[in-house]
């Protein structure tokens, strides 16, 4: 039997806010979280632009042993998960008594690796690296730490799928619950924002260099876009079996009704309209809906010349007839990379709950592809019953999720 899967908790720690309420306000007002990181200039970045995310102060909040093993992205994930569990009405006592799983997106822990390397080079002795280095350095650092902190005893693994990691984590949580393998899964995505984390990405000259006006730098679909702005933080969602949620008396924020995926099987960094469209079509089919049923599309669009073009072609192919409003929240947040697929579900659900489409800020001049789309250059007050959210990543990994408005109706 295939079970329904609902979102019963959400938590976010990002450059546009550290609570759901603050983030909702930023989305509504079209507020950018982009700024300049001077450490990046000193380190030799071509672009010092980034989402500005404050590091949480966890001393006195979290036990030393737990803190020592937590890398920066893990700290963000911890903060987001606290809020997600609180909104889900789940406490540690509940987690100890009820099996809960975790699928969380993360695809680097550069700072931990580079700092450990620095000590090894200076001391020529690995026993001086300290106890936290290994637990902070592995790609699975977020899931290994969150499962330890929150006493999770169900499925436990990290999803590393480049900039689609967070989206795939939700897709897999949805599949595990719908198949009856788990009742509750903590899903999400985390992204470090330190100056080490994006150097090799900056090496590709993929970042905007509009440093004179940082909040204008991320401009998905705009003809004048010159690259993405990296960003980060973490987003956590509690996915739950519908009947389980009803029995528990949980608030139902939204329902995950479709997951689609594909792989381009082509170039390592060049996007593909065929691959993007395949993921969207599969998600719509999985949800049992058509493109015409979709009230809003949260685009992946990162503000790179190539990526936005290929997504626009795919969006026009699928949504050209129904023309739902489309926006890329990356215009405000920058590209939250490993976190983006999860945070953008939260952004979209906040819009759904509050009946508005957040603006694709800085969309001033369409290009030949984006002019065919119904891009929301300003906020649109609108009821949203069904939405689709895209995430695409290096290596041609594509993910699309279809989300339905939360209801307690059977």
């Amino acid at each position: 039997m295939v079970r329904r899967v609902v979102i019963t908790g959400m938590g976010i720690y990002s450059c546009i806010g550290k609570t759901l309420e603050e983030v909702k306000r930023s989305l509504y007002e079209g507020k950018s979280g982009i700024g300049v990181d001077n450490m990046r200039k000193e380190y030799g970045y071509r672009s010092p632009l980034t989402g500005i995310v404050e590091r949480p102060a966890l001393k006195g909040v979290l036990d030393r042993r737990l803190r020592v093993c937590l890398a920066e992205e893990g700290e963000y994930a911890y903060m987001a998960t606290l809020e997600a569990l609180r909104t889900a009405g789940i406490d540690v006592d509940y987690l100890e008594k009820n099996e809960t799983g975790i699928f969380y997106g993360n695809d680097s822990s550069a700072k931990a690796v580079i700092e450990a390397h620095g000590v090894a080079v200076a001391k020529k002795d690995t026993t001086l690296l300290g106890s936290g280095a290994i637990f902070q350095s592995m790609n699975s650092t977020v899931t290994m730490n969150l499962s330890t902190i929150f006493r999770l005893r169900g499925v436990n693994m990290t999803i590393s799928a480049a900039c689609a990691s967070g989206s795939h984590s939700i897709g897999l949580g949805y599949l595990f619950i719908s198949q009856g393998l788990q009742d509750i899964v903590l899903c999400g995505g985390a992204q470090e924002t330190n100056h080490y984390s994006m150097a090799s990405f900056d090496a590709l000259s993929a970042f905007s260099i509009r440093t004179d006006d940082p909040t204008k730098a991320s401009r998905p679909f705009d003809a004048g876009r010159d690259g993405l702005v990296p960003s980060g933080g973490a987003a956590s969602l509690i996915l739950e079996d519908y009947d389980h949620a009803i029995k528990r008396g949980a608030t139902i924020y939204a329902e995950v009704v479709g997951y689609g995926f594909s792989s381009n099987g082509a170039h390592i960094s060049q996007p593909s309209d065929v691959g993007c469209a395949a993921a969207m079509e599969r998600a719509l089919a999985n949800a049992g809906v058509t493109a015409a049923d979709v009230d809003y599309v949260n685009a992946h669009a990162t503000s790179t010349p190539q990526g936005d073009t290929f997504e626009a072609i795919a969006l026009d192919r699928i949504f050209g007839a129904s023309r739902p409003p489309i926006s890329s929240t990356k215009s405000m947040t920058g590209h939250e990379c490993w976190m983006a697929g999860a945070s953008e579900i939260i952004y979209s659900v906040l819009m759904m709950q509050n009946s508005f489409v957040a603006p694709n800020i800085n969309f001033e001049t369409p290009d030949e592809y984006s002019r065919k789309l119904n891009i929301a250059d300003k906020r649109v007050e609108k009821n949203i019953d069904l939405l689709l959210s895209n995430s695409f990543g290096f290596g041609g990994t594509n993910s699309a999720l279809v989300i339905k408005k939360g209801t307690t109706q059977p």
Binding site: D63, L128, S131, G132
Partner: protein, 82 residues
Amino acid sequence: MKREEIESTVKNFLIEEIEVEEKNIVPEALLKDDLGIDSLDFVDIVVIVERNFGFKIKPEEMAGVRTLSQFCDYIESKVGDK
């Protein structure tokens, strides 16, 4: 280095870096059972001792060290005034 200075430095890093409660820091305290120092904490103590006292703890030399006082004896044997 004088014994008092060694004890003061050890007490300070146990409180500040290992976050041991100050009231538990007495000479006869057992490192593991009374101060809660586990094998991973000890990995960090090796780093801290190297930074504060300039030598590397050898695990085999620590075999008989169970109390805080014995730990300070060990450090004194390495860096104490002769």
